[in-house]
């Protein structure tokens, strides 16, 4: 088995995970070169590995498949390794080894999920992804980040447990660990669905994302933006394609976050909301499930990972160079950070699906698939969300950061490695937007789709430009909601505030029961029993000995007699005759009783 195990090299996931362990041992340029080499190596392995099940490890009676390669998993593998390379390049100057190791472990776990051929392998990498990613948030080392990381890991433990419970029930029912297409028909399949839905940030299970990602480190957020949600999209596309529920959840998911994004002040939180919105398009595509829709979903995931990472990189560059990330604190940065500004605009144009940018050639496939299936309401919701995403991610993010009012900040451009990573990502966004054929070629199904028709381009431009007109008119007329330092309530309220109330309620109720029990049993019943066993023999003795009192009558005398008896009891100096008489008395009693 060992011969076949490595016949196509080391599994990409293990290249990352085992490779990560050596990072702390290296220094300087060697370390940088080594870190950049790992994703390249994983990419090359992906290119040569054939389709089918590879890298199988047999444990007890189950086969763990580390490399189920087909067209669907391979395209996710490609983009995950590409973005790892860019994220590592972006982070190469970070001194903190914890972040590097966590980043590689996290990305490796994402690759592990992608190529998992059985449910056990999927689960192991799923949990590793949750744990490793938490360190990317903790590494920010602020109080807020620590609290957010705690909430983040709790939510993911909940999701992971749902997944595990679902997997166990499913294996009980079917006896198979293979990852196959499922329908929502039993407790097991529902629990697996919920577990995956947590990572996909499907409302109402989404708030961990906008809570945690903006608190992550500058470079950590770039990693985070790529793997958790998109590996969940992949698993949904593999297990639940054509699930109607996903169409509606996806459509809602595109619409709800954009309202929050309009109100949000923190740039990276705006991006987190738009991330949820974009994953909504993908969920909708998975739900529709046709070849065009799945192609749209996969290509959109591919493009989205690039432009979302690009946007998080440019926002991160601003945060690193200015120390600020709120709309209210920023503005006018185009003067001193023109390249970052340009890259941000490319990312913004891509996410808005502007013609000639990457989002256009991928998102339109999903929207067209909805139209082909005659899903009128869904189609209208997706178009609404398309206009909305241009509004907040396309205009608001660059406008309030780089233009808007001049904040007076004169920050420099970030270091060359950050600019280069952003530059490459921006180049890929434009390249795919202009020439989508290479991307279309690696999609799961053959593509018969032409994005560049005149109608399509004009329709999209009208939708976006007139959305921009609304922004302009509202800004100029002062009707645009002002940016404010505030938090906006979301479903995380239920566990952030609600949990406190549950804690207080549990404290009052359970501790109340505890106190009552303490009073009744510990102090009451047990106390009475103790008093009984302690005092009963003495009292009995006094009662029985009174008729034999050698002293005369009278209350005072009587008391003295009682004291004498009790002092005998406490000091253990009862005359032998009394004990013997008592013993005989007991024997006599027993004789008559039995």
């Amino acid at each position: 088995m060992s011969q076949t195990f490595f016949s196509f090299g080391i599994p990409p996931a293990l290249i990352f995970i085992i490779g990560a362990l050596f990072i702390p041992l290296l220094k300087g340029k060697l370390k940088s070169a080594y870190m950049l080499m790992l994703p390249v190596l994983a990419f090359l392995v992906l290119v040569i590995v054939p389709e089918g099940s590879n890298w199988i490890v047999r444990i007890v009676q189950y086969d763990l498949v580390l490399g189920k390669v087909d067209r669907l998993s391979r395209v996710f593998g490609y983009i995950f390794t590409i973005i790892s390379f860019l994220a590592v390049l972006y982070a190469i100057k970070v001194e903190d080894n914890v972040q590097h190791v966590a980043g590689f472990m996290y990305a490796g776990a994402g690759l592990g999920v992608t190529f998992a051929g059985d449910l056990f392998t999927l689960y192991i990498f799923w949990e590793l992804m949750a744990v490793a990613s938490t360190f990317l948030i903790l590494a920010r080392k602020t109080q807020k980040a620590q609290s957010a990381a705690f909430r983040y890991i709790m939510v993911h433990i909940f999701g992971g447990l749902c997944l595990l419970a679902g997997i166990v029930i499913y294996i009980q029912e079917t006896g198979s660990t293979e990852i196959v297409r499922l329908t929502l028909c039993s407790a097991g399949t529902w629990l697996i669905f919920i577990g995956v839905a947590v990572n996909a940030a499907i409302p109402p299970l989404h708030p961990w994302l906008q809570d945690a990602y903006p608190e992550a480190t500058v470079t950590g957020a770039v990693f985070l933006s790529a793997f958790t949600t998109k590996s969940a999209v992949y698993v949904m596309a593999r297990i639940y394609p054509g699930t109607e529920l996903l169409i509606w959840l996806g459509a809602l998911m595109t619409a709800i976050p954009i309202f929050y994004a309009v109100l949000e002040n923190d740039i990276r939180r705006v991006l987190a909301y738009s991330l949820i919105n974009q994953v909504g398009f993908m969920m909708c595509g998975v739900g529709i499930g046709s070849a065009l829709a799945i192609n749209g979903t996969v290509s959109h995931a591919f493009c989205h990972i690039l432009y979302k990472a690009l946007l998080f990189m440019s926002a991160g560059a601003v945060l690193q160079m200015t120390g600020k990330i709120r709309c209210t604190d920023l503005g006018g940065l185009y003067k001193t950070m023109p390249l970052t500004c340009l890259f941000c605009i490319v990312g913004a144009a891509s996410i808005s699906a502007f013609p000639m940018f990457s989002g256009f050639v991928s998102k339109s496939m999903i929207v067209s698939a909805a139209a082909h299936e005659k899903l009128a309401i869904v189609w209208l919701m997706l178009q609404f969300a398309s206009a909305g995403v241009f509004h907040h991610a396309g205009i608001k993010v660059p406008f309030f950061t780089f233009f808007g009012h001049d904040s007076g900040i004169r920050a420099k451009e970030p270091p060359w490695n950050m600019l280069l990573a952003m530059g490459i990502a921006a180049f890929l966004c434009i390249f795919i937007g202009l020439y989508p054929a290479p991307l279309y070629k690696i999609l799961p199904y053959p593509v018969h789709y032409e994005p560049f028709t005149a109608f399509h381009i004009v329709a999209q431009l009208q939708l976006l430009m007139f959305g921009a007109l609304a922004f302009c008119l509202l800004i100029l007329s002062g009707n645009y909601p002002a940016e404010m330092r505030a938090v906006n309530l979301d479903t995380d309220w239920f566990y952030r505030k609600g949990a406190k109330w549950i804690y207080v309620a549990a404290d009052k109720a359970l501790n109340g029961v505890n106190n009552a029990c303490d009073r009744l049993f510990v102090k009451g019943v047990v106390g009475a029993a103790i008093r009984f066993f302690k005092d009963a023999p003495l009292k009995l003795t006094i009662l029985l000995s009174r008729p034999f009192s050698p002293l005369e009558e009278g209350e005072l005398k009587q008391r003295r007699f009682d004291e004498m008896i009790s002092s005998m009891f406490t000091t253990g100096t009862i005359p032998i005759g009394v004990s013997a008489a008592a013993a005989i008395g007991v024997f006599v009693m027993l004789f008559f009783l039995l």
Binding site: P338, S368, H391, F455, A468, P481, V487
Partner: protein, 81 residues
């Protein structure tokens, strides 16, 4: 000292930018009738449907968001208390 790159500090540049923008909008509307439309839904073919839908969507988005703020907005320390 290097001269600062600050094109949008001058109001006339902003005006020029907006003028170009409005011209683009005009062109997009004017060419609408001359485009061959392959539609799935009847309303897609209507004159300027996408323009009006995009505009209406964004206005609606802003005003609903503004309304939601009344219920959703809390001060930044809300969760720390």
């Amino acid at each position: 000292m290097k001269k600062e790159f600050a094109v949008f500090d001058k109001p006339e540049n902003v005006k020029r930018f907006l003028r170009v923008f409005y011209v683009c909008l005009g062109v997009l509307i004017l060419i609408d009738p001359f485009i061959h439309k392959h539609t799935e839904f009847p309303w897609e073919g209507a004159f300027g449907f996408f323009a009006s839908y995009g505009f209406a969507s964004c206005v609606l988005l802003i005003f609903i968001a503004k309304g939601l703020r009344i219920f959703l907005k809390k001060d930044e320390q809300y969760y720390d208390r």
